[in-house]
Symmetry: D2
Subunit: 470 residues, 4 copies
């Protein structure tokens, strides 16, 4: 069983560039951490021709070979990397989704999760729609097709106004590329220039990798049309909804070299480590992080605590999808693949181990045990986020509530369960502070249970800070 | 460039058998000659659960491994093998198509071609439907979803009453299996019993292979529901349309061990050879056939002409999709992969070479040249069908009219082009006679240009023998 | 368990042709029936450079792609297709074997079996040789390396004079191509011209396929050197050994379009069928053959018996290595993949079924049963060879003696076991007659137990007809 | 063209453990950084049976699937991961090499390079040996086979006494496992206990991963036999050769969690960074390392210099062998896949960039340029080793001397070529100090050109510090 959070997807698009599909390929590769189960690219081959599409199961480098990219000639393209939710057939839900509707060919790459998706499906089925996948992108395609106007932009906007939840979208037709972000801006999306063309991507690291220059983030609630030299912007919703971007992008999901809302993710994480040292100090000999995601925070902790930062654990980087996991018996015999402690660093030391979060708790328990066996005198676990207590509804694949170790437990109880000498979490306020705002400026539902977009659809009051709390 | 006719598809289904998906696998394998680009199986896992689906590009043996079949547990299944039309993306159009609509999960395997498919697509798009494939199965799924009644059978019948053209269908829901054949019965479909369950398949050889017992053909215009012990039959159309099964199934497509409308295909072909010997005799030393499809006719010719049947050409059976074809230069140097003449049989002989048809003529020209180089004294080409002059509209992938060597040419002109000492074709009447009927009992549009189902939809008069002639 | 005989290998070589490796590829493809487990090509890239080599597990079309052939540039090449013996690791024994010895790089493709191979291995190991494979080609390479003279040709001849048993060899160095055939000529090998260069191959069909012109067979006991325009011939052994080519190449192994010792294989087989009709007549309605190998004999039978030849069984041609075989239970339920009887041909008929041989008898039993269930009134099995009673020692992969149904049984007993109404075999004399000689002109050890090359090595008397009889 | 040093191989072995091949698999996975082109495992299946072997091209996780490991049942096993040298056919040289010689089956895994390998090959060929690979393991196998004594241990020792150069060996027979390290101990090899059995591996991280407990390093010049409960040690050579383990294992090759001669690699590297800060200080705002190998040194530098350690560059971890590299034109357009600078960290900063070595210099030049474009005010390159001026002869795949940027150049010239504001290297003495010795205790030939094992074989004087200097 998996003991980590998984981003559901990454999206990107390139408009008006000779090497559109190749740049999309490199952008997807930079977004690989956001989805490793399948990848796809759709490319426009000019007016009145259907978009060409190639999708497959696996990493970007496995799904596309040179011949595939050669077949994807065209001046505009969108791409997608995907994690399936449990039970999904990974191939059926690979994106981009490409459909033909009255206005012609349409490709959709979606990152996020619609909370009224199931309800919309039911309604669409009632009125005669058929579904071939379980993706929200297909719901959006149906709504667009049924919007009934001639203009694809109008129809897309009409569709978006019916959905509730999280979305960052890259959409392509032979005539234009569109990008959109839900009114709360739950999932990230950035805009850049590449040559004479344009580019959108879930993270700025994809712009960097593809040689594009960052221009600005797509705003929460913004709908963007790109069909020539300029970018045309409109609002999806008139209501004055409070932005609430996912705070976990800062803590864990985004790549450290990405910038979110103008802040560098590595630097935010380093700050989280500093706050941990300030708020939850402990006498220790070394500070270490769980690689790779917690290295930034651990170095911040070490600096602020003025103790050496050490590589206490080393990660083996070669694990692939086909790797044969050891049986339980071998694990008990000490077979230990992913993380190896550095005995000489750990032995007899009082260790501060910084991690970004605890989900099910199994990994933390194993790590504490590994460090003990390596001779650590004391192990102080410092988590650069609050207790993770509520499942995400906006595109993160978490365990159900029952599996979350922090659900219904105090920090003391968790400390006991994972076996650390001390366990401390960072507060919501500190997270928000590091990310440059206050608690109300972000979605922190996974900590607080207060979901900015309610299932019931009663989040009309833009000034209500937290629309639905469990 | 390809110089042969290709059947578009094969379909099959198994209802109520412990090994439903495995039997479907073997049935597809028996139907492999009807489609070699992709294969798929959908299986019912019980009430209210979506059908499970596995599809892939390649031969049946390549698409499914043991683990795939294990995942397809269930008591009912449908399958499909597919040839793509030029330009199709083979994966996108792989079938069965599985969709979710109001009534639940629905799987469709289609063999044939709807002549009003494009028009129906346009109408459906106008009213807000989206299309993810270019298959007619998706048109049928939309029409079914929009039929608007609660009952899936009623909706399927309503859908079928809107389409025109060729179809043999195997359809599956968690509650029932359906089979249907268009009013003209253009494509074949047979029904059998397997254990306590039922089976349908494009050809009887698939019933044999899966251990099923042939019961009867599905009738032209018949719609069959199987949801328990019994088979429930209804008529798709009230109009008294004349059946017109494809005569080319007898001549070329069907496997020689299949029976069509109660006649064995090998025996029909042998008869065609006998007629050729009677109608177009020639003084010769040996009769040979182009392997494999013309062996039956060639032995019939030899017997009727009372000359020895000899294996004048040997086919290499190992060519696969990945085989590297020789460049033109090597061909000119004599590299010659697929068919090798037996010099000792051919040298100094007057040879009757029997073939089933001439499409573009390139193969015939090469064969005549090969036999000449092998020392044949005379080469008399005998074709067990009339000149192939008109493209098929009902599910056969032919070249366009311009590529057909017989289009607009006399037999003498063709004889000259292929370089034979003589060339003779069999008449339409003789074909029909061998298949047990008269010209009006079959679709012979590829020879006559008289299409039994008109594009215009004006084939309401059931007594009009040939609805549209070019 | 397999119920057929399998040729161990096919070999070929091209000397002095711009497209040497491509022609070798096509020649191997024509020899694919002689070995389907692995394939390989070694190519000379000029003086003092090691031979380049590509080998792999699978069919020729699977082992090589265009890039592989591109890497195998050179003007001379040898190739090999291989069947492994049970227990062999198919990759380790894939050939050509390429080694480096004092004189430089050496490639060997071997078809056959050395009866003193195990003894030579033991001796070589005693004197310090190491073995990386279990192939006889490696024994030959060691013997050549240890022959101790400067000249590779001298060393090869010295090596060949130490081995006993069956071999047809294509050997390549950067300076010359060699070919050799054991003194009895047990396995076939032919020589041809291709452009300005030369070609050798196990069968003439490979010469035809590669556009080469047949020149002559390599003689039993002949050693051929090709290093320029001419072919230099020498004798491997001075003793006057009686040639004894394998008679089973005529009966079963060779392709029907190959010629062996100047006789066409199809025509020999047709003659065998005629002899069967003459020697073992029976009143019957139709004659059928077991496809594909017995079709020639069956048509010969039908002609001589003046009854119709019919396609009584149809073979599915698509079975590949990855095909999932039905479990026993499904077989009992009638699942029946490889051969399907044509009920309408068989029903109520007295059938003569011609087959080339009976090995374990399981297939024959199943076929008789299939025909009975298809309604045959009588089934008369006619085998175009004598009872197969003794394992081959010269390169054919047979079951052990205990598995051979004919070992220690009378024809009546076999008839009972397979369940035919009558069973008759052809005599050794008739086989030899059809192949153009007498019993003493061929190896018929599998029928008679008289092995032309004794294990003991006491076959010095060239006039002893049969050196060792069991 | 590649701009990095590559370790040639990693070896390991497990004696007497129920899960021998699985533990070997995990050990190889831990050693994956030492060889990524091919992998293999040989397993003993008991007395008098040949070793079973599975090898393949690719990463460990790609080469072995569950069925492969199941086939490798046995209580003892050796493994190997491999980098090919340019021109090697990766499959041919995959190890372990398994051969059959007089004493039975023998498997060899070799890490290192024999400097008299070519000479030994020539001699062996002269006396009749054949070579199927270009690996030194095959030379060792031949020498062992020809040693002429009954006892395999005696023969192995005799073989090792003839070779000169670098080797760490894991050797397996059905009766015993052997391990050996050349007299200079150039390549590492450690010994551990696993359950009741024993384990050897190139690095201690492999022992950790497989759940084995470190016992001690195999000593330079030690030959170890393990055939029961105990470990039997003998000396390969009587001469008192000075140990000279490769200092680059500390600097770059070994994993940071491995311990070499009792010192933790991460800690040594961190010390190197501290020395850099002490010996070559500069006023700067941040210190960054080139991931992943220079992170340890960079944190050491930051601590000693008392400036913040920052993640200035982020590495994309998903690049695989099939990844499509950007064309030059796209690189010029800014496409930039492997390392991405963090603009917000770099902008306007004076940056110390720590790297472990400069080989060809192309990467350094690109990195300096990337940091400049990201806005760095100053870039000070600090290398945690001396200038790399001489090719390794002992198992490291370096460019030839002409390609080494430091060969024949002063540090100032290199500084100019890479474009840094300043460039400083660490001295040989400092490296040796961090590794716990003096210059004479290590092989530093790549810096000094003084090779501890001379090609001429004149290194008889054990007290000569440096046997051959260029």
């Amino acid at each position: 069983m998996n003991d980590s959070l998984r981003e559901a997807c990454g999206v990107c698009g390139v408009w008006n560039h000779t090497h559109a599909s190749v740049l999309t390929y490199y952008a997807l590769y930079a977004l690989q951490h956001r989805g490793q189960e399948s990848a796809g690219i759709a490319v426009s081959r000019g007016q009145n021709r259907p978009l060409a599409l190639h999708r497959g199961v696996g990493l970007v480098a496995e799904v596309f070979d040179g011949a595939d990219l050669d077949r994807l000639q065209g001046e505009s393209a969108i791409g997608h990397v995907h994690y399936g939710r449990s039970g999904d057939s990974s191939m059926l839900n690979a994106q981009p989704l490409v459909v033909r509707l009255r206005s012609g060919s349409l490709g959709i790459s979606h990152n996020g999760n619609l909370i009224n998706g199931t309800e919309l499906r039911r309604q669409l089925e009632q009125s005669g729609s058929i579904f071939q996948t379980t993706s929200d992108a297909e719901v959006l395609a149906h709504l667009t097709a049924r919007a009934g106007r001639e203009d694809i932009e109008t129809n897309l906007l009409a569709a978006l106004r019916q959905v509730r939840g999280a979305y960052a979208l890259a959409i392509l037709t032979p005539e234009a590329m569109f990008a959109a972000r839900d009114p709360h801006g739950l999932r990230p999306l950035s805009l850049g220039r590449v040559g004479d063309g344009w580019m959108v991507a879930s993270e700025t690291c994809a712009l960097d990798t593809a040689g594009a220059e960052f221009v600005r983030d797509v705003e929460p609630g913004e709908f963007v049309r790109i069909d020539g030299e300029d970018v045309h912007s409109s609002r999806i919703s008139n209501s004055d909804v409070r932005p609430a971007p996912c705070v976990f992008e800062y803590i864990y999901f985004a790549r450290p070299d990405s910038n979110l809302a103008g802040r560098n993710v590595h630097q935010v994480r380093k700050r989280l480590g500093e706050y941990l040292a300030q708020d939850h100090p402990v006498v220790a000999d070394v500070a270490s992080g769980v690689p790779d995601s917690s290295i930034s925070a651990a170095t911040g902790y070490a600096e602020a605590a003025d103790i050496p930062y050490e590589m206490g654990l080393v990660r083996n980087r070669y694990i692939g999808r086909t790797f044969i996991q050891p049986e339980d018996r071998l694990r008990q015999l000490g077979v230990n693949l992913k993380l190896n402690p550095l005995d000489m660093v750990i032995r007899d030391a009082r260790v501060v181990l910084v991690d970004d979060s605890i989900v099910r708790g199994t990994t933390s328990r194993i790590l504490v045990q590994l460090l003990r066996e390596a001779g650590a005198r004391e192990i102080h676990l410092r988590i650069s986020s609050p207790p993770y207590r509520y499942p995400c509804r906006y595109g993160i694949d978490t365990s159900s509530r029952g599996d979350l170790i922090a659900a219904g437990r105090t920090v003391d109880e968790i400390e006991q369960l994972v076996g650390a000498d001390s366990l401390r979490y960072l507060s919501e306020d500190r997270i928000a502070e590091a990310a440059g705002g206050s608690r109300d400026d972000f979605c922190t539902a996974c900590f607080s249970g207060c979901y900015p977009v309610s299932v019931a659809g009663d989040d009309a009051d833009p000034h209500r800070g937290r629309d639905e709390c469990e």
